[in-house]
């Protein structure tokens, strides 16, 4: 078995829209794989077809070498799923929910251990309705881990959480990876994708536009980094300085911008030039291209649109 998840030519049409339009994916065992895209890109539909919730119109899905057609029960026992909105009984407690869901599986992880992992010991016996958004989300994550799954699917795991809540969820996802689980998640936060994912696929209008590691994706588009420079006093002549440096200098108000594909070489030369010419600079700052820039370039739209 080479790949943990293999998806070939996956398609799903709804009466008014083709939600998923020929998706191919390979996810390696033990990696965190992200589907990045704006709302309505087909992320959730893709994920739900792989989870066995939505039957695809076309295409092949294999998880751990098993197909849904022949081994549905076996696959369900091996995967953990957090849906976008996990709804439980209102008056069930986290402890009861973990015990209950754990009982559905042949293999189960201890309830106390899970409560500790997601830091819900204090709320273990509180009704589900009384949990905050972050607590409910952490419980949903714990429920996805109740069967020691090989593969964990997370649909927008941090949607609607405050920055602190997002960080604590990221830690839990990193712990899943450390335990050797394969994680497949969707997000429309590029910082989340960069922070968590080993590899990514950028999805728009039901198609994968590009996939790779975050660094590969950024590099593949040839978007330059930009060195920004501000001065304490008045800025000197930019054109002559640029000529001596051997790089184009663009002036934006009282700030200089020097685009480069090789900031590692440019930066020492720039600093040496500043020193030798005794220019009184204030700050030097390198701005790297982000996944946001990648998305903008691929689709002509911003990710948050």
């Amino acid at each position: 078995m080479s790949h943990q998840i293999v998806v070939r030519n996956l398609r799903k049409r709804y009466p008014k829209v083709t939600a998923v339009d020929g998706v191919d994916l390979e996810v390696e065992a033990g990696e965190v794989f992200g589907l990045l895209g704006p709302n309505g890109a087909g992320k959730t539909t893709t994920l739900e077809m792989i989870e066995g919730l939505t039957p695809p119109d076309e295409g092949e899905i294999e998880i751990s070498g098993l197909s849904w057609r022949e081994h549905a029960a076996e696959i369900r026992a091996r995967i953990g799923v957090q849906l976008q909105a996990t709804s439980l009984y209102n008056r069930i407690t986290p402890r009861e929910a973990l015990d209950l869901f754990g009982s559905y599986y042949p293999r189960r992880r201890g309830t106390d251990e899970l409560l500790a992992l997601v830091q819900l010991e204090d709320k273990a016996d509180a009704y589900h309705v009384t949990l905050s958004g972050g607590q409910a989300q952490r419980l949903a994550l714990a429920l996805a881990l109740v069967n020691e799954p090989e593969v964990v699917f997370l649909d927008e795991p941090t949607a609607g959480l405050d920055p602190q809540g997002r960080r604590s969820l990221w830690d839990i996802v990193r712990a899943m990876k450390a335990d050797g689980r394969t994680v497949m998640l969707t997000t429309h936060y590029m910082d989340e994708a960069e922070a968590l994912c080993d590899r990514l696929a950028i999805l728009d209008h039901g198609k994968i536009l590009r996939s790779g590691t975050p660094a590969e994706l950024i590099a593949s588009l040839g978007i330059p980094s930009v060195v920004e420079l501000t001065f304490d006093g008045p800025a000197p002549g930019a054109a002559e300085f640029g000529a001596r440096l051997g790089a184009a200098v663009e002036v934006r108000g009282d700030r200089w911008e020097v685009p480069t594909h090789d900031p590692k070489t440019l930066l020492p030369r720039l600093l040496t030039a500043l020193e030798t010419e005794r220019l009184d600079y204030d700050q030097v700052h390198i701005r790297r291209p982000t996944l946001e820039d990648v998305f903008l370039q691929l689709t002509g739209r911003s990710l948050r649109d």
């Binding site: 919730l53 369900r76 995967i79 042949p106």
Partner: protein, 359 residues
């Protein structure tokens, strides 16, 4: 490792459904306390086993003539509560709508004024008053006193259980079943589907039938507990007990449970959201509750309406339930009623199977 045993899972689903149900005070109130309140409330109001006590308001004449006195004496003998009021007080009571029948003196005799909203009581009072008037006239003229026709009270099945509480108990049992099917099953199904609870279960290895059956078994035991509670309350509070076979009663309750469960699942298939379901279920619930004779009889309604409601499942169901419970009847001759309910059950079941969706 072996997959968990389905029976064990079923037992566990059943237990968790019960445990969560017991935490829902609202549901507890409506399922257990509300029917008891209805029974004790209405049962107390119409408690007396004898003829209903009727009040006749008598406007006091300016001067009580011998004829007035003889009439009053006869009225007092006629099982009527006579309330003699001055013209002003009588008019005030009439205007408040509390008076069903009022006896007034005119220049050449008497007149009865009946409240058009309380016609049933008014007419009974008027009949008694007319009889009393004949008695008073004969006494004054020295003629032989007219004989009163004796009145006895009996249920349609010639049984001793004659009061309104006895009429109410089978009605409440039937309504419980209908409520269970429409709300505890139908509405819950729609809400679980809408909130994605079924979806969360669908990604686990729990077989769906186990979840569904666990839920159904819990509802069925709730109905059994409700019915037992109502029967016990009727016995202790009103000395009303089942006059027929308990086996037949249990069989009828089981039959009704199955029919109304299927009806709930069937309706759930037609609604996307809880709001839509609310509208659809009210469309079914209110005509059945009001027209099927759970609380009162439809004798005053147009004939076509009386026949039409017999096509709804609750009316024939209650007739059979009352037959067994109040009159100790069997199901002999109830073929048409059984058929109506059976058709509803089968139709609902077919629709439920066809339209049921998890997502």
């Amino acid at each position: 490792m072996p997959a968990p045993n389905a029976l064990k899972l079923l037992w566990q689903q059943f237990r968790i459904e019960w445990r969560l149900y017991l935490r829902d005070r609202g549901a507890m109130f409506w399922t257990f306390l509300f029917p008891l309140l209805m029974l004790f409330g209405f049962g107390m109001i119409f408690r007396s086993g004898g003829p209903p006590e009727l009040t006749l308001v008598r406007v006091a004449p300016a001067v009580e003539s011998p004829r007035d006195k003889a009439f009053l004496k006869a009225l007092n003998e006629a099982h009527l509560r006579i309330l003699t009021l001055g013209a002003g007080a009588a008019e005030a009571r009439w205007a408040k709508g509390e008076t069903a029948a009022q006896l007034e003196s005119t220049s050449n005799g008497y007149r009865l004024r009946l409240n058009s909203y309380l016609l049933a009581q008014g007419q009974l009072a008027a009949q008694a008053a007319s009889q009393a008037f004949l008695v008073a006239q004969s006494r004054l003229s020295g003629a032989p006193e007219p004989q009163r026709i004796p009145v006895i009270l009996e249920s349609p099945g010639h049984a001793r259980s004659t009061n309104y509480a006895a009429f109410l108990v089978p009605g409440l049992i039937g309504l419980n079943l209908l409520t269970m099917g429409l709300f505890a099953v139908g509405m819950v199904t729609v809400s679980y589907r809408e909130k994605g609870k079924f979806r969360r279960l669908a990604v686990t290895p729990l077989p769906k039938w186990v979840f569904l059956l666990g839920q159904i078994l819990q509802r069925v035991t709730v109905v059994a507990a409700q019915t037992a509670l109502l029967l016990a309350a009727a016995r202790l509070g009103f000395d009303i007990s089942n006059q027929g076979s308990y086996l037949l009663l249990a069989g009828l309750v089981a039959f009704g449970t199955a029919t109304f469960l299927a009806l709930g699942f069937a309706l759930a298939g037609f609604a996307e959201t809880v709001e839509t379901y609310g509208a659809i279920s009210n469309l079914v619930f209110f005509p059945m509750m009001l027209l099927s004779g759970a609380y009162f009889r439809l004798d005053g309604a147009p004939r076509w309406l009386q026949s039409a409601v017999y096509v709804l499942p609750l009316s024939p169901y209650l007739r059979m339930l009352r037959g067994v419970f109040n009159d100790g009847a069997t199901l002999a001759g109830q073929g048409a009623g059984l058929a109506v309910i059976g058709v509803w059950g089968l139709l609902s079941f077919a629709l439920a199977v066809k339209r049921f969706r998890w997502v």
